[in-house]
């Protein structure tokens, strides 16, 4: 088996051009981020949804992998401790993110017919960031939790098209 190279000597400049192209290729994968994709935007979105109500820690659990191989599809399961009866149930679960171009992820509407308050979905995350979940209970109380996810990206990227 022979070792045929394209050139007898690869100059440092050509290598840097190649490495730059690889890095440039990496840049292509990052979605553009307008100025308002920040934790502040997420805080503002949360305020829009829950108003001035107090957010308490507890009752709600957010399962997300701490590190994902690809931010395009991140599995998530959110669940709330609740008997899910007519008298005491989860009304809504809201999900937010802090570094995508916009902070909303989803709102799930549940009720006594749900049986359990567990919902699973798949998100896309543009970068390593926090995901925040807020549960609204039938008694009006709000419960929140947050998880940090590290997002890695593919090393070798396809050019667009």
């Amino acid at each position: 088996m022979t070792d045929r190279t394209h050139s007898s000597r690869t100059s440092r400049r050509r290598f840097l051009a190649g490495a730059g192209a690889l890095a440039g290729g990496l840049g292509l994968a990052l979605r553009i981020r307008p100025a308002d994709a920040t934790p502040e935007a997420m805080a503002e979105a949360i305020k829009q949804v829950v108003g001035q109500a107090k957010l308490q820690q507890g009752k709600i659990k957010l399962e997300l992998p701490p590190l994902v191989e690809n931010g395009n599809t991140v599995p998530l399961t959110v669940s709330v401790e609740s008997p899910m009866t007519e008298a005491a149930h989860v009304r809504r679960i809201h999900l937010f993110n802090e570094k995508n171009p916009q902070p909303y992820v989803a709102t799930f509407h549940l009720g006594p017919r749900s049986g359990r308050s567990s919902v699973s979905a798949r998100l896309r995350l543009a970068d390593s960031q926090h995901v925040v979940a807020i549960a609204e209970l039938s008694d009006g109380s709000l419960w929140t939790t947050r998880v940090h996810v590290v997002v890695t990206i593919a090393a070798c990227l396809e050019e667009i098209g």
Binding site: F15, G18, E159
Partner: protein, 266 residues
């Protein structure tokens, strides 16, 4: 022929590989059978679960499309795949596991996508489906999944030998601006990280795959093209014999691994 260290290799080792790689002219020999691992093993538990649960595997959407196409009449012959092949779960069992296979008409190996298109042209008198089209991927996924769980079994056909050797030579040659051969990553450094991503052994047993990076199903050729672009090497048009020869070599190199189509991969 001496191998002198080049600036590029020293920089590569420092920048790209976290561990010093000795740039030898030949790779470590073929991965020993006891260490041969499907790409499945290099994925997170969550991605593995996405593949295993056929009621939640996104590749299954393509398989369902393929199932519908299987029964749809096509072409001037107004014939469906089912009209000749009947129930795919019986007639297509084991087929994907032994592709690429030798095609006597062409005098060379062809892959499953090309086989499907041959049938379309010759038996259905329909226009071949474009490479990477939704319909071709769907039929390919549907046929491939009929071999799910079966070992990749390249045919023991002496006519394939020189094409497999051409595939092997392509796998082993240094290419592109980064002057890398496939084996530098996939024989010498599998299991280690490249820019945060775990390097797998590059086996074809999952294809066609739902790749999270693509957010859709794609073929092995798409992935090979993707690699060549990443290596900043010359890449070819879909259907190029270079790809099929390489697919043939990869099937031999990955023989015995279970077909996982439709696999999920990052």
């Amino acid at each position: 022929m001496g191998r002198h260290f080049r600036i590029v290799e020293r920089t590569l080792r420092a920048v790209i590989f976290p561990i010093v790689v000795v740039a030898t002219p030949a790779f470590a020999a073929e991965i020993p059978p006891s260490e041969k691992r499907s790409g499945y093993f290099f994925m997170s538990r969550e991605t593995q679960a996405m593949q295993d649960d056929l009621t939640a595997n996104p590749g299954m959407l393509s398989v369902l499309d393929g199932e519908a196409l299987w029964s749809r009449k096509a072409g001037a012959a107004d014939r469906a795949c089912a009209d000749c092949h009947g129930d795919a779960s019986a007639s297509m069992k084991g087929v994907a596991a032994r592709y690429p296979a030798f095609d006597a008409t062409r005098g060379r190996p062809i892959n499953l996508d090309q086989r499907i298109n041959s049938c379309r042209a010759e038996r259905q008198q329909a226009t071949p489906l474009p490479y990477e089209s939704k319909d071709l991927l769907a039929l390919s996924a549907y046929v491939a999944t009929q071999s799910r769980g079966m070992p990749v079994t390249p045919p023991d056909d002496p006519r394939l030998e020189r094409f497999r050797e051409a595939g092997r030579a392509f796998y082993e040659v240094r290419q592109g601006q980064l002057n890398l051969a496939c084996g530098h990553c996939h024989d010498d450094n599998w299991g280690k990280r490249l820019a945060g991503a775990l390097i797998p052994q590059a086996h074809p047993n999952g294809y066609p795959i739902y790749r999270l990076e693509w957010q859709s199903v794609g073929s092995l050729q798409r992935r090979l093209r993707n690699c060549l672009i990443g290596m900043r090497a010359e890449h070819f048009d879909y259907g190029a014999p270079e790809y099929v020869d390489l697919e043939l070599y990869l099937a031999w190199r990955g023989r015995g691994l279970p077909v996982e189509a439709p696999a999920v991969r990052p």
